[in-house]
């Protein structure tokens, strides 16, 4: 076997930090951190729905009022998502090539189900994020959402969310997607410490426990919103929300 079964074409102008095995893993981990921090912030903001329409609409109006900052955040997040996915896909592609023939007897040594499902959970989260943006940010499924304003003249985000989630299919999809997000992060959070060289025998059980706890706190937090709407714990006061999808 020749020594140079070359698999890596290194881009000559940039550092191997962007092309090497470990460099790309670092980028996946660093962008993962940004995305997790965003999720924490996003969840805290969304929980304002439990404080009622006024709180949620005020929070939404506040976000909109910080237009420039909002764009900075959006661009950072978009960059992180693109880098995260691009590098995981190239790593994944090489990993598949590195094991051309499978074993006859399968043995899931050491690995967890969360680790093995990273690609499925990641891609579902991606599909979900696109749907989520189309639904609530671009409001492309229900353009009438754009016209809903509350008594103070603010965009009625509360009514939009409650209306959308009163459809069991929409809520069901959200619940599944945030469940898969919880699985992604069940491996991802502890994993990123190992990738960044911040883990060892002593810390690993702590990081794994902590990662699992944070992942499922995020799940419970995000899931609580569609679940509460479905259970009728959160509802609109004026006018019955008719399900926009299945009527």
């Amino acid at each position: 076997m020749s020594g140079s079964a070359s698999s890596k074409k290194s881009c000559c102008s940039c550092s191997p930090l962007f092309s090497s095995s470990i460099g790309r893993k670092w980028i996946v981990a660093l962008t993962g951190i940004v995305l997790v921090l965003f999720l924490i912030g996003h969840l805290l903001g969304n929980l304002s729905i439990f404080l009622g329409p006024d709180a949620m609409n005020a929070y939404a109006a506040f976000l909109k009022s910080t237009e420039e900052l909002l764009w900075v955040v959006r661009i950072v997040l978009l960059t992180c998502v693109v880098l995260h996915i691009w590098f995981t896909i190239t790593l994944w592609h090489e990993n598949k090539r590195a094991r051309p023939q499978k074993y006859a007897v399968k043995n899931e040594l050491g690995t967890t189900v969360y680790a093995r499902l990273m690609r499925i959970s990641g891609l579902t989260v991606l599909a979900f994020v696109l749907y989520h943006l189309a639904q609530f940010t671009w409001q492309s499924f229900n353009p009438e959402y754009k016209t809903w304003v509350d008594a103070q003249g603010r965009h009625d985000v509360y009514r939009m969310v409650v209306t959308a989630f009163s459809c069991p299919f929409v809520s069901g999809f959200y619940l599944i997607a945030v469940g898969l997000l919880g699985m992604h992060l069940s491996h991802g959070i502890a994993s990123l410490f190992q990738t960044l060289g911040l883990s060892n025998q002593k810390l690993r059980p702590v990081l794994e426990r902590g990662g699992l706890i944070l992942a499922w706190i995020l799940f419970v937090g995000f899931a609580s919103i569609p679940a509460s709407v479905l259970l009728g714990l959160v509802k609109v006061t004026s006018g019955l929300p008719s399900c926009p999808v299945c009527h």
Binding site: I22, L91, N95, V105
Partner: protein
């Protein structure tokens, strides 16, 4: 001396380009004190007597220190329990059990014949950075260089690696990170390894990629099978050492 019977499925493959297949063998009257490799010796002797071709497998020291033996027993590289394949004993199996033996599966370890793969890729990784520069001549006084005990211990734990290849065989991505991490940790922790420290991780990782090993997904399958008990801490250290090395180069640091 009690004997046992087994139903063996052994991988037969003429060469790297050949399509291999399992052969089924009823191995009877195997002394329970046999090691796994001794059991294969008995089976091979019988095959030879019957005028059939024996099943090739590699071994050397048969005491778990050289890292030559390599095979996957019932889906576990180097077989059940700690230790290399030569440290597996038939009494660990149940009488009548079906035992499937396959070669290591990694693109970077091409099959030579049957259960034997070519692990030279690991040698080429070593050649690219798994060494230190040292004066030859009279052996220096062992205590001439003081090394704190915890550092010496951690370096020794990593130095336990016997280069067997089980880590890449166990990893779903066929990644060699445990092996490379063991070398980088072992040499990088000790004063004697400082000269090449920044270069070492970079060039070993580059060779690892060129050889076609996959990337680490932090599955920890390597750690679960390593016969030398090398821990994934060495991968964490490799991840640090590598980026430190690349950053030094990127900013134009001297060493």
């Amino acid at each position: 001396m009690s004997t046992m019977n087994f139903h063996l499925r052994l991988w037969k493959q003429k060469s790297a380009s050949d399509q291999g297949k399992f052969i089924e063998i009823h191995a009877t009257e195997i002394p329970s004190e046999c090691s796994f490799l001794e059991m294969l010796d008995i089976v091979n002797n019988r095959l030879t007597k019957e005028g059939k071709e024996p099943v090739s497998f590699a071994s050397d020291c048969r005491e778990g220190i050289c890292g030559t033996c390599h095979m996957v027993i019932n889906g576990v590289p180097q077989g059940p329990g700690r230790g290399a394949a030569c440290q597996v004993y038939m009494r660990k199996f149940t009488n009548g059990q079906t035992i499937t033996v396959e070669p290591f599966r990694a693109g970077a370890f091409p099959i030579v014949k049957d259960l034997v793969v070519n692990r030279s890729a690991y040698d080429r990784i070593i050649r690219s950075g798994g060494f230190i520069t040292e004066h030859t001549g009279g052996a220096p006084d062992a205590s001439a260089i003081l090394i704190p005990k915890p550092v010496a211990d951690a370096a020794m734990d990593a130095a336990a690696c016997i280069g067997c290849g089980a880590c890449a065989a166990a990893c779903p991505n066929s990644s060699a990170m445990l092996f490379v991490g063991a070398k980088v940790t072992h040499l990088g922790l000790l004063p004697q390894g400082q000269g090449e420290r920044k270069k070492r991780a970079r060039s070993m990782v580059r060779t690892m990629q060129e050889e076609g090993f996959g990337n680490c997904s932090n599955y920890y399958a390597c750690e679960a099978v390593c016969p030398a008990g090398v821990k994934a801490d060495v991968i964490s250290m490799l991840n640090r050492e590598y980026v430190r090395g690349e950053l030094s180069v990127a900013v134009g640091a001297i060493d």
